[in-house]
């Protein structure tokens, strides 16, 4: 079983549209993971049938018992997350800022602080309209542990994929922080989607550095490539200097938005559109790369 992640550094580059098209092409050979637990959108294109749902309580938060609290404020001085502050002489917990480390509970000499569990998010397994299993989750509002949640999703999906499938396809989240790292580590191929804008170029450099840091083979895809030819040329130059293969250049394609509005992947909406052709070429190259990797 081979694992492929689609990442972008920046949001809005067409990551989810591409992953949905790849999931459509892979069909029942793939298990799909939506690792953007913060803003999971893949399900909106997949018309999912829910099979399983589970609430996850991983986080915890400090709760103060004011019957016991003597207002010494020792807890406030020890909290490194500024999650405890003083209001009218009393220590108050900001449950959103609290990371659940338990330092305040430990330093309290009056046993006035208790750690209580809080909802991290919900975990789902669904079947998509393309016959693949979709492992996805939704982080509780203002939730944390997003990296851990991604790791959990991946582990569950890997069990399923290892037993009976060829591919594990992961739709990553934007950025380079903890959920991205969790979705990148240990995969066989990372497809990095970018746009020919100055800001995307900057983010591409950071995500390439990250992929390299974790030793993950990576290719680049330029979406909306004709938006600026000058910037597109710069990406070409960057890739060739860095020795990164440019998998595809897809022109600005109105069909991507039109397909999104009706809630299906572009490849189903218009199989001949530029984006769909790009997706097919990308999937072919990814498969070839993974096969070659297996042989070597």
């Amino acid at each position: 079983m081979k694992q492929v992640v689609v990442l972008s550094g920046k949001g809005g580059t067409g990551k989810t549209s591409l992953t949905a098209s790849l999931a459509y092409l892979a069909g029942d050979e793939a298990v799909v993971v939506d690792a953007d637990v913060d803003a999971p959108n893949l399900e909106l294109l997949a018309e999912r049938k829910p099979l399983f749902e589970e609430p996850l309580f991983w986080g915890r938060s400090a709760v103060i018992d004011y019957e016991r609290c003597v207002h010494c404020l020792l807890c406030v001085s020890y909290c490194r997350f500024s999650a405890l502050h003083v209001k009218e002489g009393l220590p108050k917990v900001d449950p959103i800022g609290c990371e659940g480390c338990g330092v305040c509970q430990r330093v309290c000499n009056f046993s006035a602080i208790e750690m209580r569990e809080k909802l991290t998010g919900r975990f789902f397994i669904s079947k998509t309209r393309w016959n693949n299993f979709l492992f996805h989750a939704r982080l509780a509002p203002s939730g944390e542990n997003s990296g851990k949640l991604v790791t959990y999703l991946r582990r569950k999906a890997e069990e399923k994929a290892r037993a009976e499938k060829k591919y594990l396809l992961i739709d990553g989240s934007p950025g380079i922080g903890c959920p991205v790292i969790s979705s990148l580590v240990g995969v066989d191929l990372a497809i990095l989607v970018t746009e020919p804008t100055l800001s995307d170029q900057h983010d591409l450099e950071r995500i390439v550095a990250l992929a390299r840091h974790f030793g993950v083979p990576h290719f680049v895809v330029v979406n909306k490539a004709d938006l600026s030819l000058k910037n597109r040329n710069r990406i070409r130059e960057f890739c060739s200097l860095q020795g990164i293969e440019l998998m595809a250049e897809i022109p600005f394609d109105q069909q991507v938005l039109d397909a999104l509005m009706v809630g299906i992947p572009v490849i189903e909406y218009d199989p001949q559109s530029p984006f769909s052709q790009g997706a097919r070429a990308i999937w072919q190259k990814a498969q070839d790369f993974l096969k070659a990797q297996e042989r070597s």
Binding site: G9, K10, G11, G12, T13, T16, D38, A39, P40, N41, L44, Y78, R80, F81, S82, I96, G97, E99, G100, C101, G102, V103, R106, V107, R138, L139, P141, S142, G143, E144, S146, G147, S173, P174, G175, I176, G177, C178, V180, I181, E195, P196, T197, L198, S199, H202, D203, R206, L210, H213, K224, L227, S228, K230, N231, F252, L257, L260, M261, G263
Partner: protein
């Protein structure tokens, strides 16, 4: 006044609106701009600051004195994040799991753990176009914990510019990094696009902002591509719509070249100022959060 610019989803035009707003307002007011999207800081591309100062953001990292450690395992028992583990009487440290709470140092009965520091990222300060005071944070590549950098960034800004009109460009999403960026803001602009993705992410971001009790309003970017149910959602929740930015390929091309809404042909400065005026009206009335 601190105005946060958030979006739920990436790529909705949050940075574009934030920098345009800063530029449009800079004619009449001193502006501080804070790029808190430390995982993908991009505002510098549009505001072109001259960076004058850079500070390293460090966080607690335990240093274990093996001479003193007797392998009692108290630190590993305490560590809620499993960053410390006892293996064959020896303590192993996994830095990527550490939240820098300092608990291990506190509980070690032998005093074998000392405060060390690890670089999480950097904050940078400078002067940008139109005299805008510019701050940004950059997460170190390979470091997972963005909020640590955001916290330091905000602390530095608040100390130096407590009363200046401040615009904060937030990270996408609705989780801990966003929360850290918008916390203490006086108002939050939620930038969205009229697509099913936009609506889904707007709902999550709104819920997070509401939990924090921060008043907010919506700006619809790429207006005209469809309905997406944004208007219905805003009406149902009583969220004011501050304005919209039309969907045009020319805007995307401008953005690609590092230009803002107030630059070049297709100048939308009036629309941007109208958004700011709508925001002022809403905050004066005391918008519901």
């Amino acid at each position: 006044m601190v105005i946060a610019c958030a979006s739920g989803k990436g790529g909705t035009g949050k940075t574009l609106l934030a920098v345009s707003l800063a530029l449009a307002c800079s004619a009449s007011e001193q502006i501080v701009f804070v790029d808190a999207d430390v995982e993908a800081p991009n505002a510098h591309i549009f505001l072109k600051p001259d960076i004058e100062e850079e500070r390293v953001v460090e966080a607690f990292s335990p240093q274990i004195d093996e001479g003193k450690c007797d392998g009692c395992g108290e630190c590993a028992d305490f560590c809620y994040f499993s960053a410390l583990t006892l293996v064959k009487g020896k303590v192993l440290f996994f830095p990527e799991l550490c939240h820098s709470c300092g608990g291990c140092e506190l509980v070690c009965p032998r005093g074998a753990i000392k405060e060390g520091a690890v670089e999480k990222g950097r904050t940078r300060k400078g002067v940008a176009r139109e005299g805008i005071v510019f701050w940004e944070g950059r997460l170190k590549v390979g470091e997972p914990r963005a909020p640590a950098v955001i916290t330091e960034l905000k602390k530095a800004v608040k100390k130096e510019f407590p009363d200046t009109l401040t615009i904060v460009d937030c990270p996408p999403g609705a989780s801990c990094a966003l929360v850290e960026a918008v916390r203490d803001a006086d108002f939050c602009i939620l930038v969205t696009e009229p697509t099913p993705f936009g609506l889904s992410d707007l709902k999550a971001a709104f819920q997070a902002i509401q939990e924090l009790g921060i008043p907010c309003g919506v700006v619809i970017n790429k207006a005209g591509i469809g309905g997406g149910g944004i208007l219905g959602f805003c009406e149902e929740k009583g969220i004011p719509i501050l304005g919209e930015i039309p969907y045009r390929r020319s805007i995307a091309e401008k953005y690609a070249r590092g230009l803002t809404l107030v630059d070049g042909e297709d100048n939308l400065k009036r629309e941007v100022l109208a958004i700011y005026q709508a925001l002022r009206r809403v905050t004066l009335k005391g918008a519901g959060s």
